[in-house]
């Protein structure tokens, strides 16, 4: 969490992006100079199916306010089936977080292809705003990691 001069809450967003589609989509939004907030920090993974639920919890523990997972569109996975497994895993994980009362809008899965630079930027803008509205992550944070 960062607080800038006008005191607007600056959420920290961790974005896991698959190397083949979404990471390339993010690059494309850069190439096209499509802005999205600096709040978003991208971690490159070979496939969305590489993302372990532990990574997502870890991000929240260490102070992330939102975590978004981006992969190839269903049917387009570079490894043919990885994102299908991602989809089931994340559906169940997010449902569980919701069950525990964690705000739904802190987590998201989005399919972004290498050609969808505009979609990537729009998604990140939208997601950052949604998380900004929720305020700092308090329900799934580790107090010891809270920044003063």
């Amino acid at each position: 969490m960062q607080v800038n001069e006008n005191k607007e809450f600056q959420p920290l967003i961790v974005a896991f992006c698959c190397n083949w589609c979404s990471y390339a989509g993010a690059d494309l939004s850069g190439t096209n100079r499509l802005n999205y907030p600096t709040n978003v920090k991208i971690i490159r993974v070979p496939c969305s199916c590489r993302v372990n639920p532990m990574f997502i919890l870890r991000a929240f523990q260490r102070g992330a306010d939102g975590v978004i997972l981006c992969g190839c569109h269903p049917g387009d996975c570079h490894y043919t089936s990885g994102n299908y497994f991602t989809r089931r895993r994340m559906t169940l994980l997010f449902s569980m977080l919701d069950f525990l009362g964690i705000e739904r809008d802190r987590t998201r899965v989005e399919w972004v292809s290498a050609a969808e630079g505009a979609k990537f930027a729009a998604t990140m803008n939208e997601f950052t705003e949604a998380v900004r509205k929720l305020g700092p992550n308090r329900r799934l944070e580790d107090l010891r990691c809270r920044k003063q």
């Binding site: 299908y84 525990l100 899965v109």
Partner: protein, 323 residues
């Protein structure tokens, strides 16, 4: 029933078809039953017990016992057979080295519910036509059997043995149970209410690991929570996050594999309804990917190692129900 079981176990030990027997024996108190391995007729005669308190699911002991030399005889209640099937499917037990005798299931009794009636100094508990006659240091007490049933038995999902080599008693059927009612009730709460509910429950957790250690799906050679390299190693929950994380990860690791035997909640010394986390996954899996009962067979593909091209998107979590 106990006599019939001991008799059969002795026969199988005597003719050499099995080398060991997994069953139950009494602990310090009459109601304090613990799983045990018996190797001789004498041991069986001395300690083997089967009564209204033998609720422990002993299938997990087969992970070790089935790998030892010689066959092992195990007495399994219907719910326990699901666990065995799941273990067989995951190659955690050597099914060929196991002789399963299916025995009738519960309902079994929950001593805490008897104690909750203010009954103390309990010496023995007898079921006399669905009235419990409780012999205590202070005289005999009675209470209805139905009021002392274990929660996991109250919402029993099946009286059918899904795997066995022989049966003592009759086999039953898969039941319609109301086991998802509480999950549904929570789902209908607001996020804040759910958060408060789980905070209250999970903050009681003392990280004794009983839930993990009793769970027949938690048989990892090395648990991620004990592994310094896993990044989540954690001996004691020192913070609300760690309380949450342990139970989320544990439930996730058994998602699609949990047979809903209910042991986690039964053994929790803090009475945290841990089974609700597992049932939430089971309910989601059933509604999103089709009915699936872990352990019903040994061949079907587990929901999390399977997919269809038209599975729902994760956004379904956002779309359904009120916040």
């Amino acid at each position: 029933m106990q006599e019939a079981m001991i008799k059969r176990a002795k026969e199988l030990l005597a003719d050499g078809s099995v080398k060991r027997v997994i069953g139950w024996k009494r602990g310090e108190f009459a109601y304090d039953i613990t799983p045990a391995v018996f190797e001789s007729a004498e041991e069986l005669d001395k300690d083997f017990v089967f009564d209204d308190f033998t609720s422990a699911n002993v299938s997990k002991y087969l992970v070790k016992e089935s790998k030892k030399e010689g066959k092992v005889l195990v007495f399994l209640k219907p719910c326990d057979t699901y666990s065995l099937n799941q273990l067989t499917k995951e190659h955690r037990v050597d099914r060929d080295n196991i002789y399963v005798i299916g025995i009738p299931g519960g309902p079994k009794l929950d001593i805490e519910k008897i104690k909750a009636k203010g009954i103390t100094g309990i010496l023995s508990v007898k079921n006399d036509n669905y009235t419990l006659k409780i012999d205590t240091l202070y005289g005999e007490e009675t209470m209805p059997f139905s009021e002392a049933i274990l929660d996991k038995c109250a919402s029993c999902k099946s009286k059918k043995h899904v795997t066995y080599d022989e049966l003592i008693g009759e086999d039953g059927d898969v039941l319609d149970s109301d086991r998802f009612d509480m999950v549904e009730k929570l789902e209908n709460m607001t996020a804040q209410e759910r958060y408060d509910f789980w905070r209250e429950q999970l903050s009681k957790c003392i990280r004794c690991n009983a839930c993990r250690n009793v769970c027949p799906a938690c048989t990892c050679e090395k648990c991620v929570f004990d592994n310094p390299n896993s990044g989540v190693e954690n001996k004691a929950a020192s913070d609300s996050f760690e309380e949450n994380m342990f139970h989320i990860i544990r439930a996730f690791h058994v998602a699609g594999r949990c047979t809903d035997c209910g042991e986690c909640s039964r053994v929790c010394p803090q009475n945290i309804p841990l089974h609700l986390l597992n049932r939430k996954f089971i309910k989601d899996i059933n509604s999103l990917y089709g009915e699936y009962q872990a352990g019903a067979d040994t061949t079907s593909r587990a929901p999390l190692t399977d997919y269809t091209a038209d599975d729902c998107e994760a956004s379904i979590v956002h779309e359904r129900g009120a916040e």
